[in-house]
């Protein structure tokens, strides 16, 4: 198991190095971070020269990549175009993003699997049809449309009805909140809508996969046998059938985790969160563009998160399916 995880990490690392090379070149070539400075007549050539040296822009591209890569391997993400170190800026933002992504993933797994099982057990019932329709609708809706609908229509109505803000639509917290309990409640009130947005776009596909795999299992002979030998319906469903039906869905969930992080970029922008997705987006589009080190730091952290999540999924896979051997 340990050796397996190490090998997975090693393979992921190789892909990451090759991938970062391509992306580093691509981002570097997309523009000149000094363009704003150079367009400003009040900035002296000496300042521009200093900025160029500070950002290593006087060096060849390959050398810049090498500097970045060796720095990154030592935990140093370089400096952003404002001259500040990227590392201390992006780690707090990563936790902000995780505040949205982790609850959303857990809730989406629970809802997706729950609704999928319910649909399969009561196939063609009213509940199954309603759940199917909702899944189709959410599957066809872009994440920003759900976000805007929740923000501008649900939140406004709820807050008006309550007479004071219950659901916050901008930012991840109110700065200056004191007391552990108040901070928690405040974060929760900010969390509801973004998490709900991510859950709605994510659970739909998962519930369809869960429904299909549960139906497959329920029609299998061993389930009929388990029922025939006198086990209770509940025990057959949740111990014998569900465990096997979870195996294919685990793969789908693991593969979709990257998509949730992608969705988080848009959700953070819609809800004005200072997360790492928005940080990446700002590094890409400006005002000073491209902020290569910011973009690359985001890419590396995201890839690392996806690799870690996939290893967790692999372990879950082994727990669900004893036939799997990590050789």
């Amino acid at each position: 198991m340990g050796a397996y995880i190490l090998r997975r990490l090693g393979a992921g690392f190789v892909v990451l190095v090759v991938g970062t090379f391509a992306l580093y070149i691509l981002v570097s070539l997309s523009g000149n971070p000094l363009a704003n400075l150079m367009a400003n007549p009040h900035i002296s050539p000496a300042t521009i020269r200093a900025a160029r040296i500070e950002l290593h822009l006087n060096e060849p591209l390959l050398q810049r990549y090498w500097t970045w890569l060796t720095g990154m391997l030592h935990g140093n993400f370089g400096i952003s175009t404002t001259g500040q170190a990227v590392g201390p800026q992006i780690w707090p933002r990563m936790w902000v993003t995780m505040q949205m992504v982790i609850p959303a993933t857990i809730i989406a797994i629970v809802i997706g699997i729950g609704l999928g099982v319910m649909s399969a057990v009561r196939q063609y019932s009213v509940r199954d049809h309603v759940s199917t329709w909702f899944a189709y609708a959410f599957y066809a809706t872009p994440v920003f449309v759900i976000g805007i609908l929740l923000k501008d229509f649900l939140a406004v109505k709820v807050d008006n009805a309550a007479g004071h803000p219950v659901l916050y639509t901008v930012g991840q917290n109110n700065p200056g909140t004191t007391g552990a309990w108040n901070i928690f409640v405040d974060a929760l009130a900010h969390d509801v809508l973004p998490v709900l947005t991510l859950v709605l776009i994510t659970y739909a596909a998962w519930s369809r996969y869960q429904r299909a795999s549960m139906l497959d299992v329920l029609n299998a002979d061993y389930v009929r046998l388990a029922r025939a030998k006198g086990l209770s319906r509940r025990r057959v469903l949740y111990v014998h059938a569900l465990r096997n039906a979870l195996i294919p869905v685990t793969t789908v969930i693991a593969l979709d985790f990257a998509a949730i992080l992608g969705g988080a970029v848009i959700t953070e922008i819609v809800f004005g969160w200072e997360g790492m997705g928005r940080f990446f987006y700002q590094g890409l589009v400006g005002p000073v563009t491209p902020d290569v080190n910011v973009v690359m730091a985001y890419l590396v952290i995201t890839a690392a998160l996806v690799i870690i999540f996939n290893i967790i999924a692999d372990i879950a896979y082994g727990l669900l399916d004893p036939r799997i051997r990590y050789a």
């Binding site: 393979a11 992921g12 892909v15 990451l16 090759v18 991938g19 391509a22 992306l23 691509l26 981002v27 070539l29 997309s30 523009g31 189709y136 609708a137 599957y139 066809a140 809706t141 872009p142 994440v143 920003f144 449309v145 805007i148 609908l149 501008d152 406004v156 593969l255 990257a258 998509a259 992080l261 992608g262 969705g263 970029v265 848009i266 922008i269 990446f280 987006y281 890409l284 589009v285 563009t289 491209p290 973009v295 985001y298 890419l299 995201t302 890839a303 996806v306 690799i307 996939n310």
Partner: protein, 355 residues
């Protein structure tokens, strides 16, 4: 995955009788009992080419002998028969065609151009402006037509390029393996660990500074989407190439290109078509996301994502500017997904023919 057509032909009741009955009419003695009149196997002579009339005759005679009429139907006919019985797929197809007509033929009959500025600023839906006007004075109805057609055009181009490229690379990787396989799988690994949207944002940021028109956006979307098709085709080919009918092709000396084009691709056509359809839906959604973030379609061109982004600013004041493009986007994607579902059921040979 469709059954191999060769196997189906040999197993079907009508074709078993075909060579025996056909040969007395047009065949040579040497061909009798030699199995199907395969032009590849027989060596010259007019009899080598099966005559359609003779075959039809043979079918009719076989049917008459058996006392019942069994008409063999082609893969396409069976798929069609199943598709037209899929209610949601038909509704989806109808909706999609209607929206397509609205966006392509609509502008010919509508008295406003999408770039034209009227003297109505931010008015709600009315007879003159069914979808209202925005704060600059654009007629939203005309804008919707232009935006819908841009979105659909982009998605169709993406699906076309991604399907062609994905099938080509997937076929090479699945059939030959070796370097094509290694290259494809490594490329896929990268996409599996970095969100596709993020890669697209990086690509779009580089491209949109040079040229932000819809064709470029379509090209970078296709640069990502082909990998999904390629992985799918590779998987199907990996299992198909071990089957007996491919072994038989090897035995008679067929070239790799012939095996891929004549045997493997026709057998993989079901998954390819279904995924091409679903690629259209995904491309519309992703293009909308890019345009929403300002890295997709650039003004003066408009797309649904761009209109939604514009409408968001005034969502509480002029909600119709947000509602119409959002609703159109959802309806188009739903319709395409339903068509995809219908095709999936229709092209799956394990389904019984219900027609």
């Amino acid at each position: 995955m469709p059954e191999p057509r060769e196997a189906a032909r040999i197993d079907s009741p009508t074709s078993a009788a075909r060579p025996v009955l056909a040969t007395p009419l047009v065949g040579t003695p040497a061909q009798q009992g030699s199995g199907p009149p395969d032009p590849l196997l027989s060596l010259g002579g007019p009899a080598a080419i099966p005559q359609p009339d003779a075959l039809a005759n043979a079918d009719a005679m076989a049917a008459a002998q058996a006392g019942l009429t069994i008409k063999a139907r082609s893969q396409f006919q069976m798929a069609y028969a199943r598709f037209i019985h899929h209610k949601m797929a038909l509704i989806g197809l109808g909706t999609f065609v209607a929206i397509l007509l609205f966006s392509t033929i609509g502008p010919l009959f509508w008295h406003y151009n999408y770039a034209q500025i009227t003297n109505q600023f931010g008015t709600g839906p009315s007879l003159a402006h069914p979808f209202g006007t925005d704060t600059i004075g654009h007629d939203n109805f005309a804008q919707m037509m232009a935006a819908t057609s841009t979105s659909i055009e982009t998605a169709l181009v993406v699906a076309g390029i991604a399907t062609a490229l994905g099938t080509l690379v997937g076929a090479a990787a699945g059939y030959y393996g070796k370097w094509a396989d290694a290259l494809l799988m490594r490329f896929t690994d990268l996409i599996l660990i970095v969100p596709g949207l993020v890669i697209l944002l990086v690509l779009a940021n580089t491209v949109s500074k040079a040229a932000g028109n819809w064709l470029w956006i379509a090209l970078i979307l296709a640069a990502l989407f082909w990998t999904y098709l390629a992985r799918l085709v590779r998987g199907v080919f990996l299992s198909l190439r071990e089957r007996e009918f491919i072994e038989a092709e090897h035995a008679i000396g067929a070239s790799g290109a012939r095996i891929i084009l004549r045997h493997l691709i026709p057998n993989a056509i079901g998954p390819i078509v279904v995924n091409a359809t679903l690629t259209i839906a995904q491309a519309i959604l992703v293009e909308a996301a890019l345009s929403f973030l300002g890295l997709g379609i650039q003004p003066p061109q408009v797309s649904l994502g761009y209109l939604i982004a514009q409408g968001e600013g005034a969502a509480t004041v002029l909600p119709y500017l947000f509602y119409f493009p959002a609703a159109f986007l959802i309806v188009i994607v739903l319709a395409v997904n339903f068509i995809g579902d219908g095709l999936r059921d229709a092209l799956d040979p394990q389904q019984r023919v219900r027609a």
